[in-house]
Symmetry: C2
DNA sequence: TGAAATCTTGCAGATCCTGAAATTTCACCT
DNA sequence: AGGTGAAATTTCAGGATCTGCAAGATTTCA
């Protein structure tokens, strides 16, 4: 006679794991926002969540990874979004639609993302990590792009370039969104960036 | 009666510094190429150059920075290259010319760059660092792009996007170049990537 | 030559991160 | 209920990274 285990067909165990992970991410973000990256140790973060610091490393390979967190879309997630677009749609347009879908996910976690962006702004040394976390993602998306475009990866450079450009467009949209306090509709900023790309980046 | 101090009007002191830095970079690259990133400690690198490990940290803030080294173009260097292009040239074209100039610099240090690319390929965790080192550079170039385009940074997103796309184009060209063993002419690959960008990344 | 600036070095120490073993928690089955 | 095995957490030990600090060596310059 247990209370209905709402949370999406997950046992107590997995639910706790997600909880712990989320708590660690949140603690890391708020603490670093207050004291700066160097002013926060892994032990501080772990203590705030009341787990051992060793446990922290069971969840994240490095301190900074808790700040990037699972915020960066998982590779497979993005790939699915891309593959959901009909094959007749041109590559760049498909990447735009994928990015829009991702943008909605970000808007859903508005507060968390604004905090994250603020932390990144205040600790520029973190910015690389954000891109870092995108590396694996970029590889997966790039492969999907190559298939869609019907070319082999590593020959024409087209899949690599299109993917990298799309990621850059999304990143720029995110930065504008964060800089504007999350006021604009992110999807519009994404469209904006992709329009410029599709037009060949002519002088404004 | 000293041998002509060739090296560009530098005293013995500064010459030694440059030597030490170059030696550390070279030792780091070759050692990591042999044993992998985790298989090499800072002490190993320092010993190979016969300095103390403390000295290593006087030159580089972190182990990985010795691998990126000064290889990544200095920000001001790139900005100068960009500003050397007449103002009437469109932004994207100016970025292409800047990249071509940089490409020549890379070709001049062919062996070092091929080794670097190989190390990056074998240690993907380093890739972020490379981008990292580009962050500051990107900011400087972006500012110059904004002035050239006659827009304020942080409003239209154009300077940010154009710069990010150009960097991506250069990066993709570099990867293709490295993957092909440094055989193609890098400048041609750069032109290739920029052509695709300027055309709006149409399906190939 | 002698003072000033700079570089190197050893040392102490905080923090990061990992492996292994002990302990606890949880899911599942009878 | 109670027992069992898998998974998560913790404790512990230890190597590696990186930072101040102060002493010693080297270079520069007057």
């Amino acid at each position: 006679m247990t209370i209905v285990d709402s949370a999406d067909e997950l046992g107590r165990r997995d639910r706790k794991k997600l909880e712990t992970r989320a708590a660690l991410e949140h603690a890391a973000l708020t603490l670093v926002a207050e004291r700066g990256l160097a002013g926060v140790t892994v032990e501080d973060i772990a203590e705030a969540v009341d787990v051992s610091s060793r446990t922290f490393f069971n969840y994240f390979p490095a301190k900074e990874d808790a700040l990037v967190g699972s915020g960066s879309a998982s590779a497979t997630d993005l790939r699915e979004k891309l593959e959901a677009v009909p094959a007749r749609v041109p590559v760049l347009e498909a990447l735009r639609l994928m990015s829009r879908a991702e943008a909605e996910r970000v808007q859903e976690q508005r507060e968390q993302w604004l905090l994250r962006l603020k932390v990144f702004e205040q600790n520029p040394s973190l910015f690389p990590r954000l891109v870092a976390s995108g590396t694996e993602t970029e590889r997966v998306v790039m492969t999907a792009v190559a298939r869609r475009a019907g070319v082999e990866p590593g020959t024409s450079g087209y899949p690599e370039l299109a993917t990298a450009a799309a990621m850059a467009a999304f990143r720029v949209a995110m930065m504008r969104w964060g800089a504007a306090g999350g006021r604009p509709v992110l999807a519009n900023l994404v469209d904006d960036a992709f329009s410029q790309l599709a037009a060949g980046l002519p002088n404004p």
